[in-house]
Amino acid sequence: MSIAVYRIDDRLIHGQVVVGWGQVLGVGFIVLVDDEVRGSDWEQELYRMGVPPAVSVEFAGVAEAIMRLPAWEADPRRGIVLTGDIDGMVTLCTGAPDRISRVNLGGIHFREGRKERLRYLYLSDEEATKLRALARCGIEVTAQDVPTARPVPLEELLA
């Protein structure tokens, strides 16, 4: 297992990912799965700025990510795969069945219609249903912003 964390975080690459998870796990590469960022040079340039030079960043669209997943998993370095929203991760999980066993909810913030579940996690009922469906497929879904925090299981979040 070369991909240490599959994470949903609407801020994509930020301090918690790089300093929090990256340094603790000794991560060598970060995969940013987002169709819009994939098509935007200036955004890619920005996200590269946020990462230390020893860590490489790959950009992929969601469909492309499904194809490239086996290669990333075979990488000798440890990696983090990030999506900015739940839909992206759901597509990834269904497109590459049995490859992803755990999904980390790292940060989904307030928007109209979302309810607070944790201080860094706001979900609408529809989004909660999507996550439940993931869990039913045998994927362990937990919320954890940084490695030092306790992972909160999905059932507890939605209770």
């Binding site: 994509l12 930020h14 301090g15 790089v18 300093v19 960022v37 200036w42 955004e43």
Partner: protein, 253 residues
């Protein structure tokens, strides 16, 4: 490009407000409300002025969710305000704000919180140990804030100057290179400061005391390290001090 060379409107007021960008920090919008607060003086120049629709729409947009490193947030504030004044589309502005959050946060965390701040603190500690007294604190504040205040001023100016093209300015400034240098520097200084602070505290005491202190410190650090990532150094320190207190109050060693 006459506008391109224009100075930041209400520069002083905006800079002043940037220092308080986190005053209303909350879990829903994080520093978003502070973002709007800091950007507000720059939006007054929009057509229609403070009573106009453009101004109100822009202020509502700029006050939505945002988070980044506070010292670098001015870069985003300046860029977003400039984009508003240039009449860019709301979608583009929202995209810009969203895209700046993570990278400005991560870059600032590495550059300042895990770099310059511990480096300056380590210098101050060593100065205190070597007898600089209150000067150590003066050096700390001046050294640290030279970089801090410069970052705020540079960020606001560069953001306003570049607007939507701010990513290029960020890359050109060599901040990433700076964060590459400051990490090792901070590591070296903090590493050196720890034994020196220790020696400053227990200098002239008997060897048993020095040995016990060094052993205790290394054991404490090692225990937390081995129990990582869940263990908390603070809790273990409290435990050590609490146990010493109980023993010290009960038994005449």
């Amino acid at each position: 490009m006459a506008v391109a060379a224009s100075p930041v409107p209400a520069f002083g007021a905006v800079l002043f407000r940037l220092f308080a960008i986190q005053a209303g920090w909350n879990y829903e919008r994080m520093m978003g409300v502070g973002f709007g607060y800091a950007a507000e003086p720059m939006l007054r120049g929009l057509p229609g002025g403070r009573a106009g629709d453009r101004y109100r729409e822009a202020l509502a947009r700029e006050s939505r969710f945002f988070n980044a490193h506070p010292y670098l947030a001015g870069l985003a504030v300046g860029a977003a305000a400039r984009a508003e004044v240039d009449g860019e589309s709301p979608e583009k502005i929202e995209r810009l704000r969203a895209a700046l959050c993570g990278p400005l946060g991560s870059l600032g965390d590495r550059l300042i919180w895990a770099g310059w701040l511990p480096a300056c603190a380590a210098i101050a500690l060593m100065l205190v140990a070597f007898g600089a007294r209150a000067w150590a604190v003066v050096v700390f504040l001046v050294l640290y804030n030279l970089v801090h205040v410069w970052l705020r001023i540079w960020g606001l100016r560069a953001g306003w100057r570049e607007g939507l093209h701010v990513a290029g300015a960020l890359a050109a400034q060599g901040l990433r290179r700076g964060s590459e240098t400051v990490g090792p520097l901070a590591g070296l200084l903090v590493g050196a400061a720890l034994p020196i602070a220790f020696a400053w505290q227990l200098r002239g005491e008997p060897w048993e005391a020095v040995g016990a202190g060094a052993g205790g410190a290394i054991v404490l650090a090692g225990v937390v390290r081995l129990a990582a990532p869940r263990a908390n150094g603070m809790a273990l320190a409290a435990l050590l001090l609490g146990a010493t207190s109980v023993c010290g109050l009960l038994w005449p060693w």
